[in-house]
């Protein structure tokens, strides 16, 4: 019988100052803090510590921090880690050190496929889910010809590939696409090509500043007014805020969490935004950090203590169904993928918005068991026992 104790140390590893700082960053740390408080474990005699770090979007820095956390600071669990490259690099360290890895911020579905690990749980979203939910819904609504604006990066390619599969499977057609370099300031040239293609849907397989700039410039070139529709395959609440409703209205996209979904999400978001610097409500990544940790604590409690054995804890997490106020019911699948409902949103018109963060209209729900990669299609080695 190994010894269990009641101390846990959690490291929130995120991009604190770069591109992803708004949608993860300090907000993710706060979400982790709130999960610790809400778990009620302290009252039951547990000691839970939280430290945070900035990986600056560099895999090197990410792995060194992760290693140091395990070796020196005796961290048990790493959460968040946006940026696919860093996320995958940290994935290896966590496996090597037999820790627990609850990723919420990264988009790459490799985390639960080719690079899956017995120590990893992938919460919130991935490229497969985004492609499927958005692609399917739009094709069904009549958007059967597509043109892609794809960031020339691995995640952009993955998004485009997965969406294309969905579009064609549902009887739609991809009529063209351009791959643009990351951090492109001007999209007019690409938008002209999209316009010329006459596709009904222009799929934006990019992220962050590239997405917001392409949406903004699409408005300038009268794309939406001309009858074409934009589908942002990866868009966060903070991005919509940044574009402004005036320009973003009518956009379709998928998220797995929105603060204004139901009473539970509203209650949590209220508490959250009161503690945020700019009173922002949580993004889905930050919500994922909270929910992931809550589930982790459940597993620890079920184990009766912390075995400091990551694989064991993750295995336990996989046996308990997930159920939390933010994402609802779901499960941690054998490959580490967490399934939960995904929602198709449309951005409100300025006239419809009643508050500073009142942005989305819910237009459809994809049930958790359909939103993510089916297990029989997953290439994860853990599944081939």
């Amino acid at each position: 019988q190994e010894k269990l104790d009641k101390t846990v140390k959690i490291g929130a590893l995120s991009d604190q100052s770069g591109l992803y700082a708004d949608l993860a960053g300090p907000g993710s740390t706060l979400a982790a803090q709130m999960a610790i408080e809400d778990s009620g474990l302290k009252a039951k005699g547990w000691t839970i510590d939280l430290i945070s770090g900035d990986h600056q979007n560099k895999p090197d820095i990410g792995t060194t921090i992760a290693r140091q956390w395990f070796d020196v600071d005796k961290v048990d669990t790493i959460v968040d880690v946006p940026n696919s490259g860093v996320a995958l690099a940290v994935n290896n360290v966590v496996k090597e050190k037999n820790g627990v890895y609850i990723n919420s911020g990264a988009a790459t579905s490799d985390l639960t496929n080719a690079q899956c690990s017995p120590n990893t749980v992938h919460w919130t979203y991935d490229t497969y889910m985004l492609a499927h939910a958005t692609g399917q819904a739009l094709v069904k609504a009549g958007g059967d010809t597509w043109f892609f604006l794809t960031a020339d990066y691995a995640f952009g390619a993955a998004l485009e590939r997965d969406t294309t599969a969905v579009v064609t499977a549902n009887g739609g057609k991809v009529v063209g696409g351009v791959k643009h370099p990351l951090n492109t300031a001007d999209f007019s040239s690409f938008l002209l090509q999209a316009q010329a293609s006459k596709a009904k849907i222009i799929g934006l397989a990019n992220a962050g500043g590239d997405t917001t700039n392409s949406i903004k410039q699409a408005a300038e070139f009268g794309i939406v007014k001309g009858g074409q529709k934009l589908a942002a395959l990866l868009l966060f609440l903070t991005d919509v805020k940044a574009i402004g409703l005036e320009t973003a209205q009518g956009l379709n996209f998928t998220e797995t969490f929105y603060w204004d979904l139901n009473d539970k999400t509203r209650a949590f978001s209220k508490r959250f935004s009161e503690r945020m610097k700019n009173s922002a409500p949580p993004t889905m990544v930050q919500a994922g950090v909270y929910a992931g940790l809550m589930h982790y604590f459940k597993a620890l409690e079920a184990l009766g203590g912390n075995p400091h054995d990551g694989a064991k804890v993750v295995a336990k997490m996989k046996t308990i169904p997930t159920d939390d106020p933010l994402f609802g019911k779901g499960e941690v699948e054998a490959n580490g993928r967490v399934t939960h409902d995904a929602y198709l949103f449309e951005v409100k018109k300025p006239s419809e918005s009643k508050g500073p963060w009142d942005f989305y209209k819910l237009v459809g729900t994809v049930p958790g068991n359909q939103a993510f990669t089916p297990l029989d299609k997953s290439t994860c080695a853990l599944l081939k026992k």
Partner: protein, 287 residues
């Protein structure tokens, strides 16, 4: 074929941003011998000032075109007086490092207060909408940008290359002590020049605010390209920067059409080719 015309035109429009930004950089490099890595950050500040003016003061775009360059220019002059001034006579590397540090500080502060995803700024009402040119839909705002920047570029070129002030500036770059001994208040002139270069960056920032997100990192992404434009044009050459800026826009536009993945890289191909053929850039003086 029609599509190609459209690409050339949007290329030209983009080129006007490059031209305006690299112009300021070239002025600063040519006159102060400083590789102003903070240029991108100051461009960003220009856009932010426009945003503040509109959202806090209700001051519109047209006033922002004047006020933002002045405000940022003054900020630049303060930087020059307090820091850059101490670099005269030192290698370029130090100026680069110092301005890089300044860029980090400015960007960091803005990121802290305004996040990284940015703020919206819309096109002024007078310039909304577009015209159908037959081969493309040209947003009026883009047309305005191209014309306005061309005018500013040529005016700056005239000021620096064709007036006595320009001769003072060029001479002061080479030997400030001697020019001062001819009776010219060189420190003040240099400060004002830096203000001018920085003001041009801020002006580009205001122009771009309605098109691009007003983001703290909007300039950081651009600085290397703009820098390359200045080098291709020939370090410090005003006309070289203007021409290269517009030309790069067009070449990039074509690349975006034929091989879009490479559109951010084509500038470097261009740079290697130009430097191999012309050792000091298109119109450059000796290194």
């Amino acid at each position: 074929m029609q599509a190609l015309y459209a690409q050339l035109l949007v290329g030209l429009i983009n080129g006007s941003f490059y031209a305006l930004l690299s112009l300021g950089l070239a002025v600063i490099f040519g006159m102060l011998n400083i590789i102003n890595f903070a240029h991108g950050a100051l461009y960003m500040m220009g856009a932010f000032v426009a945003y503040f003016l509109l959202n806090l003061g209700g001051i519109n775009y047209w006033w922002a075109l004047i006020i933002a360059p002045v405000v940022v220019g003054i900020f630049g002059m303060i930087l020059e007086r307090t820091m850059l001034q101490w670099l005269t006579g030192l290698d370029h590397l130090y100026g680069l490092l110092l301005t890089f540090g300044i860029a980090l500080i400015v960007q960091g502060v803005f990121q802290n207060y305004f996040g990284s995803s940015g703020l919206p700024y819309s096109i002024p009402d007078q310039l909304k909408g577009g015209v159908n040119l037959g081969f493309m839909f040209l947003p009026i705002y883009r047309g305005w940008v191209v014309v306005f920047s061309l005018v500013v570029c040529l005016a700056t070129w005239f000021l620096i290359e064709k007036t006595q002030l320009g001769a003072y500036l060029r001479a002061a770059t080479e030997n400030p002590t001697l020019v001062r001994a001819f009776g010219i208040n060189v420190p003040r002139m240099i400060t004002l020049t830096y203000g001018l270069g920085v003001g041009l960056a801020a002006l580009a920032g205001v122009l771009s605010a309605p098109i691009n997100q007003v983001r703290p990192l909007m300039g950081a992404d651009l600085i290397i390209v703009v820098f390359a434009v200045v080098v291709i044009g020939g370090m410090g050459s005003i006309m070289g920067s203007i021409i290269t800026g517009f030309a790069l826009g067009v070449i990039e536009g074509l690349t975006k059409y034929f091989y879009p993945e490479a559109s951010n890289t084509v500038v470097f191909v261009l740079m290697v080719v130009v430097l191999l053929v012309k050792p000091t850039g298109l119109t450059g003086r000796a290194a």
